[in-house]
């Protein structure tokens, strides 16, 4: 049945509030104005009246013809309000005011406000007519070759896409996960299906979009992220952050959830629900990650979740194993505007030709670290989530105009800078969990020309997470050395 609901544990789903989509190609009995445009625009989405290409009168005609369904955007379920667009049920994330509709207290949703406000008096429109279709034969233009591990995962993904199954691809950082998906996406597009590639991170969407647009040149593709320009509604291949996936309802037949264990996706059941609602109930779901959570690992071991493990990087070299170094009380040092001598010494002794990531546990630590490293004579800059010049700084770092980039955990995944080394300052902080550290260590040695690369954890007492990270990476390397099963 619904394969997604088996994975999204926790909330047992009540009856779906959404209309069912008829898949038979009915031709509308009454001629409707601008039918193809409306079909393409509305298919698989929940839209407000102002997001429609036409005015109220034409929308009415469509509603009467049964092509559109008008649903109140916010409904009351028991004592709780619920936003139909973003599935928000948290009372702390609704607002109320005296409204032009005449109500003294009209409720609106604050969770999805950025996408245009929905309130109790504004209806959402769902397309209930035949879905827009588009078949692309041989859409993939790519001449690269897959390694044997990638090949195995690629075939499994394509099979899961065809049979509409659930599959977890557990591949080490730098295994070439994106390329493994090409075949599955191409086959789905050739079957005339719509594909959603979603990830919790905006940076990942921005990095992936040009790559996918390049290998699928003939396919209408769109990238949705916060503050992205208005994307094409007719796109058959949609890249979106999990937040933006809320714009779609029942639209996709194949979903790829990239970095599935990343913040905020794992911690936010609302987002999981949104992704579930964005795809049709029988959609194929492919999860990608290097660091599955404990629950998923258990389900894989018990056989409830089929998976493919790719322990080998695409260039065939082992993962760099992190080295732990004592740094003393780094918190105290930072608060005094200094850096631990161990870190400084290591920075000076290394070959500065290679770029270096320095991960720090908090935004507050970025500035002092940058200042100290600058006085040491390094070309250095810092980024964090609220940094408006983040993009430019990362580009400058890639182009080697910056030697050292100090960053919070925002760059822990999905970012590729060739030949980089990695240092973690304060690896014993709570924010550096095992999965975070594995991802961070995975930033190093991604280029076949320099597959080694140093990873050093500077700490004030080893934590369990650090030890597990080292063990995790060693296990992966050992598995890699053994021939494929």
């Amino acid at each position: 049945m619904n394969m997604l609901s088996t994975w999204f544990t926790g909330s047992s789903q009540s009856a779906s509030p959404f209309p069912s989509f008829s898949s038979d190609a009915e031709i509308p009995a009454i001629p409707l104005p601008d039918y193809t445009k409306m079909q393409v625009h509305c298919s698989g989405r929940a839209l407000l009246a102002q997001e429609m290409p036409h005015d109220q009168k034409i929308i009415k005609a469509y509603v009467q013809a049964g092509m559109l369904q008008e649903v109140p955007a916010i409904t009351k379920q028991g004592t709780l309000w619920r936003c139909l667009r973003c599935s928000n049920k948290n009372p702390g994330l609704f607002g109320v005011h005296a409204c032009a509709c005449g109500r003294e207290r009209c409720v609106y949703c604050r969770e999805c406000l950025e996408m245009g406000r929905v309130s109790a008096c504004t209806p959402l429109y769902y397309w209930t007519g035949p879905k827009a279709s588009g078949v692309f034969t041989d859409p993939l233009v790519w001449s690269g070759r897959l390694s044997s591990g990638q090949e195995r995962a690629s075939r499994a993904a394509a099979a899961a896409g065809l049979r509409k199954e659930e599959l977890y691809i557990w591949a080490v950082c730098g295994a070439g996960k994106t390329e493994m998906m090409f075949q599955a996406v191409a086959e789905a597009l050739a079957r005339g299906e719509r594909v959603l590639w979603t990830t919790p991170r905006t940076d990942v969407v921005r990095e992936l979009y040009p790559r996918l647009a390049e290998v699928f040149p003939g396919v209408p593709a769109a990238a949705w992220y916060a503050a992205s320009p208005e994307a094409r509604p007719e796109a058959r291949l949609v890249l979106a952050t999990a937040h933006q996936a809320r714009r779609f309802k029942g639209a996709f037949d194949v979903v790829i959830i990239d970095e599935v264990d990343a913040f905020p996706y794992v911690f936010d059941p609302g987002l999981q629900q949104a992704v579930r609602e964005a795809c049709s109930p029988h959609a194929a779901v492919i999860y990608l990650s290097a660091t599955p959570g404990g629950k998923e690992q258990q389900r894989m071991k018990s056989g409830a979740l089929s998976y493919v493990r790719v322990p080998r990087r695409f260039h065939g070299h082992p993962l760099p194993v992190p080295e732990c170094r004592w740094a003393g009380n780094w918190r105290l040092q930072l608060s005094r505007g200094r850096l631990p001598p161990a870190l400084l010494q290591w920075c000076r002794s290394r070959d500065t030709a290679y770029p270096l990531f320095v991960f720090v546990p908090s935004v507050a630590a970025v500035r002092p670290a940058v200042e100290v490293l600058r006085t040491e004579g390094f070309r250095c800059d810092g980024v964090h989530a609220e940094d408006e010049k983040r993009e430019e700084k990362i580009t400058a770092f890639r182009e080697e105009q910056i030697d050292i980039l100090v960053t919070t955990t925002i760059l822990e995944r999905g970012v590729t800078v060739p030949k980089a080394d990695v240092a973690v300052l304060g690896a014993d902080d709570d924010i550096f969990t095992e999965s975070a550290l594995v991802q961070i260590a995975g930033r190093a040695g991604r280029n076949p020309e320099r597959p080694e690369g140093d990873v050093v954890f500077f700490h004030y007492g080893r934590t369990k997470a650090m030890q597990q990270t080292v063990r995790h990476i060693q296990t992966m390397n050992r598995e890699e050395a053994a021939p494929d099963e």
Binding site: F94, G95, V96, A98, R105, Y108, R117
Partner: protein, 237 residues
């Protein structure tokens, strides 16, 4: 509607940035208990007007009555004008805040400033009747709420919708120059003058930029028989 009903919803999160609220327990908020609506970071960034300000319009960094107010005095037809009081300057933070509040339509964000507005009301305008500046009908349809009315609701004093505004050509004020604003006639009317005649009226608006809107409503209200007029605005740009 009062603010407790407004806030029965948006509780436990910073009204500005949406962070979960972590109340820091200090003697101050232990003894003078009131629920926090903003997180510590946002509270720190509030551009509160402190120090010398124009006594007539709250323009920051003026000790004497400012040039704008002097020119209003020369032109004034609202002779029983008292003053304008504002709580905040207009800076980048406030601009982002207003954008979300007014243009995105997150009405409840105003509740973060209810306490400040009430305190200003008690300090300066005790006994005045609050009258929110109205929106033109079309704008009201589009925005669904009147931001001035949302502010007036926070005073916990019964407010009167005494003013009405006809539909007008011409765009948003926030897109106009100073000269254009001063020349625009909004054409406020007072449909039921008996409610306010002989009373002190306090005009409530979100932002005081040139003062043109507030002064025009003051003039109309005085013509309708108000004993005196003043204004309380959230922001002095």
């Amino acid at each position: 509607m009062n603010d407790s009903s407004l806030l029965s919803f948006a509780r436990g999160y910073c009204l500005s940035c949406g962070e979960r609220l972590q109340t820091s327990w200090t003697y101050n908020n232990l003894f003078a208990w009131r629920a926090a609506h903003l997180c510590d970071t946002c509270t720190g960034q509030l551009p509160t007007i402190t120090g010398p300000a124009c006594p007539e319009c709250s323009a920051p960094e003026h000790v004497e009555v400012c040039a704008d107010c002097l020119s209003w005095r020369r032109r004034s037809e609202d002779v029983r004008w008292v003053k304008n009081v504002s709580l905040f300057h207009y800076d980048d933070w406030m601009q982002a805040w207003t954008a979300r509040w007014k243009f995105r339509g997150d009405a409840v964000m105003a509740a973060a400033f209810y306490y400040g507005l009430r305190r200003a009301y008690r300090q300066h305008f005790r006994g005045f009747v609050p009258v929110p500046v109205p929106l033109a009908p079309l704008r009201m349809q589009e925005r669904r709420f009147n931001q001035a009315e949302v502010l007036a609701a926070g005073l916990k004093v019964p407010y009167v919708l005494a003013l009405e505004r006809p539909e007008r050509e011409g765009g948003k004020q926030s897109k106009q120059t100073k000269r254009e604003r001063l020349q625009t006639v909004r054409g406020f009317t007072v449909p039921a003058p008996e409610i306010i005649s002989g009373r002190n009226v306090l005009i409530i608006d979100d932002i005081y930029t040139t003062g043109a809107t507030v002064r025009e409503s003051a003039q109309v209200l005085e013509a309708a028989g108000a004993a005196s007029t003043a204004s309380l605005t959230l922001i002095r740009a």
